[in-house]
């Protein structure tokens, strides 16, 4: 009598299954199109990343670290990059990097406009806010299921799942950045007769830029963490190495691959943070 009565059971999951199947059949042209575009993007990115020799990455990172921080940070970051190569995981790292780059790129395309619209419309804000909360508390594995069902196995569903998981912070921070522009600055813009578009591109977005850049950084970090999980639906790269090691109980290999993910995350984080800080102090910048 303490158990929940069975007669109240209602199988929702069956309906969801059917809905997803219906979705994949009705919009298969759309998903084919997504596969084509994202697949093409991926191949292009991977191709470019692959024709750059390893030492070019090292040199670029030394220069970037030195410009953005100092010589010590530059050396520390470069050592991490070289270690990934030493571990024998360079190609996997490049593959993972390609997925991250494309996911972040799509996140920016979706996230920034959504954040802007959300800041402009009270109604959309009230709809999107709980949705974003939900997206961020949802276990990341859950995103794999629709991705798998709609797009099959491989790098495209991996990009899809990664993007959905990674986009909320960017939307949220774009929204916040625009909402928090100083009231007098907004009034000043209006008082000189700016059109809504001029307000957006000449005042609001430039003023919100450093907040948005923080959003891009967070989105990238989310993408790094998701890309490992996405290997469960067939993405190769560093995540796959971790996954295989777990299955085979190869502790050492798993640890090394995990370490490579951490290094990649640190390198990306520092680079983006450095760029964000530059935005904050930039002189004469005009969006």
């Amino acid at each position: 009598m303490f158990d929940f009565p069975e007669k109240f059971f209602f199988d929702i999951s069956g309906y969801i299954d059917r809905f997803v199947i219906w979705l994949s059949q009705t919009f298969d042209w759309l998903f084919d199109f997504i596969k084509l575009v994202v697949g093409g993007l991926f191949e292009g990115t991977e191709f470019i990343l692959n024709i750059i020799p390893w030492w070019a990455y090292v040199i670029l990172l030394i220069l970037a670290g030195w410009r953005l921080y100092n010589i010590y940070t530059s050396i520390a970051l470069t050592v991490m990059l070289v270690l990934i190569g030493v571990f024998g995981l360079w190609n996997e790292m490049i593959y993972t990097l390609a997925i991250i780059i494309i996911s972040v790129f799509i996140s920016i395309l979706i996230g920034i406009p959504t954040g802007i619209v959300m800041a402009k419309s009270k109604r959309l804000e009230s709809i999107l806010k709980p949705l974003l909360d939900g997206m961020q508390t949802m276990p990341s594995f859950v995103y794999l299921i629709p991705a798998l069902m709609l797009l099959g196995i491989g790098r495209v569903p991996a990009v899809f799942a990664t993007t959905i998981y990674a986009v909320p912070p960017l939307i949220r921070l774009t929204f916040l950045g625009i909402q928090n522009v100083d009231e007098e600055v907004i009034e000043a813009g209006k008082s000189f007769g700016s059109t809504p578009l001029q307000m957006l591109f000449k005042i609001e977005l430039p003023q919100a830029l450093s907040t948005i850049a923080t959003g891009v950084n967070q989105t990238t970090m989310m993408a790094v963490s998701m890309v490992v999980i996405a290997s469960m639906i067939g993405a190769r790269g560093l995540g796959q190495v971790v996954l295989i090691s777990i299955r085979r109980i190869e502790v050492g290999q798993g640890f090394v691959a995990g370490l490579a993910v951490v290094f990649l995350a640190i390198i990306l984080d520092r680079l983006l943070q450095g760029i964000t800080a530059k935005f904050d102090h930039q002189e004469g910048f005009d969006g």
Binding site: D182, E184, E187, A188, S191, F192, G193, G284, G287
Partner: protein, 390 residues
Amino acid sequence: MVNHIEVKNLSVVFGNKKSQKTALKLIDEGYTADEIREKTGATVANKNVNFKIKQDELFVIVGLSGSGKSTFIRTLNLINKPTRGEILVNGENIQDLSKEALREYRRKEVSMVFQHFGLFSHRNVIKNVEYPLEIQNIDAKERRKKALEAIKQVGLDGWENHMPSQLSGGMQQRVGLARALSNDPNILLMDEPYSALDPLIRREMQNELLSLEDEKERTTVFITHDMNEAFRIGDRIALMKDAEVVQIGTPLEFFANPANDYVKDFIADVDKTRILKVRNIMRKPTYIASPSDSPKETFEQLKSLDIEYCYVTDENKKFLGYVMKEKLAKSRAKTIEKLIKKDEPIYRNAYLKDAWQSLKDADYDVAVVDGKNRLRGIISSDEIVEALAE
């Protein structure tokens, strides 16, 4: 003088549609702003405000915080929408303007200076000042030229490429002022522009604002909570309290007839001698001659007006001196040019105290000029004594 801005029966109520409606009704029934807030939850910021602001005058609205003055100034460019009432600029109700026409009005006619400067922190000084021109798609060369002029007017030359955050508060507000001047507006709205500055800088900026008028006269609406500031710069002053106007008048009128005890209290610690300027009490000259006039004609004029002398200005209203009636009578010259007697005029922004020192021995009306030596009025030492004695 012509009325530039006329505000008729203006009320601004913040709240939802329904509470606004009830609030307006309660205003008509004579309730105070506080009572209305308690009854409806709506905030009455302006309550049946009536103003006439004359062409080219410096009109100051003074009141404590919460008196509705900042709300009011924002209705003049429709950043705040009136709940009821009319705002006529050059006789035209600006609420009737279409979206595009309102934008044009904001771009060309009116601009605003803000209490906390409202600068665009992502743009350097020159790009801040260029902004009002940039959004009108004025070409880069032209707008750079105009922006540099505005920067020069506020004395910021050499700082063009600095970021606002690198400047002191006073300099930031100069940028704000330059930005507002760059499109050469006919109406300048200033919302407590100097309140965030320290007293010394504030004093300096007030004087600079007055001398700006020597370049070009424009209608200026200036908001402040500081009575001293209001009297120091205002041609006319409106005192606001609890969303309503308590008294409107020149500084002298305030001292002579304070409307009630509140006004009396407000002006109690204002030191007249450090505030009243020549411009506050000067009169218009009865007759002004030009150097090309004939002595005979001028003589006839003076005779018919029954005055002993008159002032002479050139075609740009520059003050040249004065001519005496007795000299005109004897003269055989073609023009009065040779008969002009030079005299030291007095600056219109001079304090009465100082002005009195320099003209206490003069037994005639002394000419008052602006910074460009244009004749603006006349004043006698007796009038100064009278004004200070009151």
